[in-house]
Assembly symmetry: C2
């Protein structure tokens, strides 16, 4: 009986924790920010925010037009601001709420930032239907190098390896 | 005979153009910048530059440590600077030289920036051996959403779609 009780309590705890963690009001907030961003003309219909221990650490909207920067997606902007606010280059223990599923650039940025969880509103397919290249770029990244639409060519690998050898021996070497 | 001659000339032209375009001196320059970046401690052993019509438009090095920003990879920094220099959010007609094959974040950024060609020194596998997560993140991105290491969950899609509907009707709508 004790075994069942412990299992039931663990499942219940996990569900409660889950419900607590996904906060629909935060999703409504990023949706509102995304819509406002369309009306301001600063960029695409996207917004994101980063939460730590239930508190919002940073908000970002897509500023591709306003800042003339194709990397200024909502998630990237939010990650930069959160790192600045928390004073580090990793966001372990944080979650991201984004009005639309992260594109490959933003998803990889989320991995580099070591975020814990992603909550998203619109899906990748919705973004594709609205004319955004997310799904296309996901497919491109999954192809072998030689089959991608943007050609790439390796040059001087032997010389380039020297930078990595220096890194291996560097006192500044840190994991990120 | 004319057919053969035309074909030979076309192949010759393509080869000549190719040789002209891949400039090993520019690769040496980014390798040097990458090595200098290790010694300065600003970030990882990575540098990139962007070229238009044979002229260098922008250079970038990895500043993850110096700027506390996990998105401040060399390619992203170079793209941002090139866009600022050229006054637009697209880099059509430009090429990127990078000391190491772009990670998924940077490769996706290169797609969003519409760069023409990528020249790289170290390969993705070299970066993996030096302890960088590029290959791991490539594998993660190619998985279905539910199988990725960072969990993600969709919330309030019906409400989120409103931002896309606004975008469709917006006078600020532009392709990027």
């Amino acid at each position: 009986m004790g075994g069942w009780w412990v299992k039931w309590a663990a499942i219940n705890d996990a569900l409660y924790w889950r419900v607590l963690r996904a906060n629909p009001e935060l999703m409504r907030r990023v949706i509102r920010l995304a819509s406002e961003n369309v009306n301001s003309g600063g960029g695409g219909p996207f917004a994101a925010l980063i939460v730590k221990d239930g508190a919002v650490v940073a908000e970002g909207v897509n500023t591709v037009f306003a800042s003339n920067d194709p990397t200024a997606h909502a998630e990237v902007n939010a990650i930069r601001k959160a790192c600045a606010a928390l004073g580090g280059f990793a966001l372990r223990g944080c979650e991201i709420y984004t009005s639309s599923e992260p594109c490959p650039m933003c998803l990889a940025a989320i991995y580099w930032a070591h975020l814990d969880t992603i909550y998203f509103g619109n899906g990748c397919e919705d973004a594709a239907r609205a004319g955004f290249d997310d799904a296309y770029i996901f497919r491109q990244l999954s192809l072998e190098r030689a089959k991608r639409a943007i050609p790439s060519e390796q040059l001087l690998r032997d010389e380039a390896l020297e930078s990595f050898r220096l890194w291996e021996a560097s006192p500044f070497k840190r994991e990120y």
